[in-house]
Symmetry: D2
Subunit: 160 residues, 4 copies
């Protein structure tokens, strides 16, 4: 069994709803999931997870500052997250409005930590994206993504 953190920042509830769908998918795959708003995520807890998924609304083409602050603060334990699985998701107000650059900004941070990031062959390739409130398409993408991350985290953990 793998343990996952899903941390999200949400003002309108859209990113939170996505986080819940991802958690549902990951739990279906047997993962132990901590689902937390970003302000409840603590730096010392991070190395205890096999996988970390972060979500943010798209603010000016990037993650919200509180999510970036968490990444910046995590420098204290730099190196301890290497080899863990990472993922990202975002919600935005418009198509073409920065949802991909928001996800990729988070992914850059996870790669700098030496984490391992999977893409998605069919669907939202870099991570789930919602334009405004998540609809059924987004729910499906999120559940699938949670399952994918949980599965890779379990396989890498088993194999140590």
């Amino acid at each position: 069994m793998s343990s996952l953190l899903i941390g999200y920042y949400s003002k309108t509830g859209n990113t939170k709803a996505m986080a819940e769908y991802i958690a549902a998918g990951a739990r279906e795959a047997g993962a132990n999931v901590d689902l937390l708003p970003i302000e409840k995520v603590t730096i010392p807890s991070l190395p205890s997870y096999d996988g970390i998924i972060l979500g943010s609304p798209d603010y000016y083409g990037g993650m919200a500052a509180p999510v970036k602050q968490l990444l910046d603060d995590s420098v204290r334990l730099h190196g301890q997250l290497a080899g863990k699985v990472g993922g990202a998701f975002s919600s935005a107000a418009n198509i073409g409005g920065g949802n991909e650059t928001t996800i990729l900004g988070i992914i850059h941070g996870l790669l700098v930590h030496g984490m391992i990031v999977p893409g998605v062959a069919v669907g939202d390739h870099y991570g789930p994206v919602s334009i405004n409130a998540p609809d059924e398409r987004v729910e499906r993408q999120c559940k699938k993504y949670g399952l994918l991350i949980a599965d890779i985290a379990r396989r890498l953990k088993d194999e140590g």
Copy 2:
């Protein structure tokens, strides 16, 4: 009056339709527009334009290889495009499927040429995006974008 090149690669006709809407917007703003499939664009012609807009379908999160080939070939006149206005647009099969990274890949190439790239405050921020066939929203975004690029090209040209 400014002169613009709109070069596009299109298999399904979606990217071509976007190019035509952008051309319509630019012509409305008084620009002299050459609208060409990428294989008809010649390298020696590039410095004659005040602005260059390139469009591509999203192939694996980036521009189609023939568009990249044009950029690669343009190295022959490196430096001669500096200070000109640049823009990009893309069509894709999915939301979250690489439409933004396709546009930004083109924009990176234009920036390396020293071109000047405007964003869009309201709408598709990095450049127009169509998910499948362009609908009315996309038509509006494209016309607005053509107008924006034509306007900046004209202002920079007048001021020389």
Copy 3:
């Protein structure tokens, strides 16, 4: 005469030194420059500038959280920065360590604001980059960049 804001976040002094070189280049081009640490930049002042250049160290492949916070807070005046000139620069500890993604993350924010972003044909193409303390190469890149941004800001202002 154009007026520029150069806002930077700096812990070690490297990003600050770059900001000073950029300011020197912009002043040489006749610009009126406000050079400020990011915590002294106020949102209501932003629309008064013809151009805005933001600099940050590379933290996890992106701008430092306080720089992101400024961008997030600037949503209050969204639309008022459209058409202004924008630029970015970064300092990093390693080659290949995220300096380009830091600059591009800032540029994404400026494009979302509808700002106009120039690239550099010869040198650091997306904006000046320093690996550790700025050396002579970086000083040259920064001065040139300040001059470039000041020049475009002036031309766009004159032409209104």
Copy 4:
């Protein structure tokens, strides 16, 4: 034992030299490595590998067109590379000249294929970068990267 493909495009020999160092690292980790110039890579062979690493010089901030063409052509077997490990590397003429965007452009393509991409906690975070001819630093980065990719490919393969 895992099997890896290292495909590269090289005009000056710099990217080829990097490819050879990565191959050396991967072989040290026990991987079976095919080291091939991009024009010798065949699409039908791709699904036979546990991991694929692609390298390119930085041309206008992105991979060379022949590398992009390979990605575009690989659409024929879309889905068959999902879950494999992917990596990227680049050589460039300048710091800040597009080496990171070149690597990330390749990584976007691998993520769209559903591949799994690791970052590097210490060193060149997104993948190895050489500024001009590879020096000792680059040699070290490349060997380490080959070893990392080989190790993850082996672990994911064992665990199936």
